[in-house]
């Protein structure tokens, strides 16, 4: 047991967070192992295992992964907004748009 290897239990979460977090952790070169499991299908929690190469603590790796997901979400949100605006701009204007 050291600061470089930890199992985090996320309460009230499921595969949605487990898989997303595992993905981001695995993508970090400073993480040597990351995995998750749902201890029991009726229990609302996931265990996320993080082992690092020793350059950063497991908690720091976890924090980085979560921050990365947040950045991804922000970027997806903004890109989606732009895509919607682009789509609307391409649509022919409705006939009675100005009548109200």
């Amino acid at each position: 047991m050291s600061v470089y290897e930890k199992t985090f239990t996320l309460k009230d979460e499921d595969h949605t967070m487990g898989n997303a977090v595992r993905y981001m952790l695995n993508k970090n070169p400073q993480v040597s192992l990351a995995g998750y499991s749902v201890p029991h299908p009726m229990e609302k929690s996931v265990n996320v295992r993080v082992q690092t190469t020793g350059e950063v603590t497991a908690t720091a790796a976890m924090r980085d992964a979560l921050l990365d997901i947040i950045s991804v979400c922000d970027h997806v949100h903004d890109t989606f907004d732009t895509a919607v605006a682009d789509f609307k701009a391409k649509q022919p204007a409705p006939m009675d748009a100005d009548s109200k």
């Binding site: 996320l10 979460e13 499921d14 595969h15 949605t16 967070m17 898989n19 997303a20 977090v21 595992r22 993905y23 981001m24 695995n26 993508k27 970090n28 070169p29 993480v31 908690t59 976890m62 924090r63 979560l66 921050l67 990365d68 997901i69 947040i70 950045s71 991804v72 979400c73 922000d74 970027h75 997806v76 949100h77 890109t79 989606f80 907004d81 732009t82 895509a83 919607v84 682009d86 789509f87």
Partner: protein, 394 residues
């Protein structure tokens, strides 16, 4: 060596749909998975920003279809799961039956009512905490009082049967809260102001904030007043009655999530599919006998189908033809034919069907509580806020 590299690159980017199985379905997430090939498999926000693309291909009041490129299935699937199970809506949770003489049982009818989509912006409401009173910020009240009877006629003959079909338009919103006699005080609502006023305040606040930020706001519910609450559809059949039967009840809606009960799920369903790609291996065309067989099996089943076509062969003899892929994505009709053909002897080396692991066609079909594009943005926000809440506990 180069060929191996190309194969591994294909395996990394695509699932290969063989005749009897899909191959290379896994996405290798480990940052060093392709280190020996000199490919950095780690995540960087910069490269994500460069590669991520979105394009909306269809959007109406009920459905948005868009393409999302340069994102992992792990994140795309999180959005999908959140849309189904964790974007909140308002739904009928408690039904107080005053009278029900129809043939449909109280509990069955209450369940039916629960599944009706309510046109109310869930973002303006709060979750009701355990023990908290039902107020205008966490509860929406509807009443229904309908009796089936036969219309009287002057000459004593049988008149038309009224209210024999009960539709959702019988549900009347009560902006001032419950009208039931307060004999059991804890049970019913305690509104401090009209819900219509509350909604107006919240909507005006939101409009002012959007105006301050210089954002353009499209009305959420089209021509419907956002300060009024009703069911999304007014013509869902709830039950049938005969003369003399009646139903009187009050229905209370609260905010909830699809993971607790599907009635709170804001989508009919939502899904994504991986973008397919039909490819001739080694060269980008087929010629000779192969071309004839391919066209017979995969293209000529319908005269109007033209995902593949005949072309003049470059560098061939004069008049020599070859077959090329015209529509790389194929279509519902030919993809399965190509996949089946791959299973014939020798064909797996000539043609293949691939599916991209990072390019998705995403569809969101709303149940009506919120427009589909708003739902997707809500799902993205939910994922970010979940991460934020984990961060705050680290």
């Amino acid at each position: 060596m180069e060929e191996i590299a190309a194969n591994i690159q294909t395996q990394r980017e695509f699932v290969t749909c063989g005749a009897d199985e899909n191959r290379h379905t896994a996405e290798h997430q480990y940052s060093g998975a392709y280190a020996s090939m000199g490919i950095d498999n780690s995540f960087s926000m910069q490269s994500f920003r460069e590669n991520f693309k979105m394009e909306i291909t269809h959007m109406d009041a009920e459905r948005v279809v868009f393409e999302m490129q340069g994102i992992s299935p792990a994140i795309a699937n999180a959005f999908r799961r959140i849309l189904i199970a964790e974007v909140p809506t308002m739904a009928i949770e408690k039904v107080y039956m005053v009278n029900n003489t129809s043939v449909i049982q109280d509990e069955v009818f209450a369940h039916r009512l629960g599944l009706i989509p309510i046109r109310a912006d869930p973002r303006l409401f709060e979750y009701k905490a355990e023990g908290e009173t039902y107020n205008e910020r966490n509860t929406i009240v509807f009443k229904m009082n309908v009796r089936c009877y036969r219309e009287k006629t002057d000459d004593g003959s049988k008149g038309p049967l009224m209210n024999s079909f009960v539709y959702t338009n019988e549900l009347v919103w009560l902006p001032k809260g419950s009208e039931l006699p307060p004999d059991e005080e804890s049970k019913f609502t305690a509104f401090t102001q009209s819900q219509a006023e509350y909604l107006k305040e919240r909507n005006d606040e939101a409009a002012a904030a959007a105006a301050a930020a210089g954002e353009e706001v499209t009305p959420l519910y089209g021509d419907n007043d956002p300060n009024e609450i009703a069911t999304v559809h007014d013509d869902i059949l709830l039950c049938k009655m005969v003369a003399g039967q009646e139903i009187e009840l009050e229905a209370h809606c609260v905010k909830g999530q699809g993971k607790e009960h599907a009635k709170w799920s804001p989508v009919g369903t939502t899904w994504y599919r991986m973008v397919p790609k039909v490819e001739f291996i080694d060269k980008d065309y087929l010629d000779g006998e192969d071309a004839d067989v391919f066209m017979k099996e995969c293209n000529d089943f319908d005269p109007s189908h033209n995902c593949y076509g005949w072309f003049e062969k470059d560098g061939g003899k004069k008049g020599e033809k070859c077959v090329k892929v015209v529509n790389e994505r194929g279509c519902d009709y030919c993809l399965e034919r190509v996949r089946t053909l791959c299973g014939e002897p020798g064909w797996d080396e000539k043609v293949r069907v691939l599916k991209s692991k990072s390019h998705f066609i995403f569809t969101v079909e709303t149940a009506g509580q919120l427009p589909p594009d708003v739902l997707f943005k809500e799902a993205v926000k939910v994922l970010a806020s979940k991460c934020q809440s984990v961060l705050s506990t680290l």
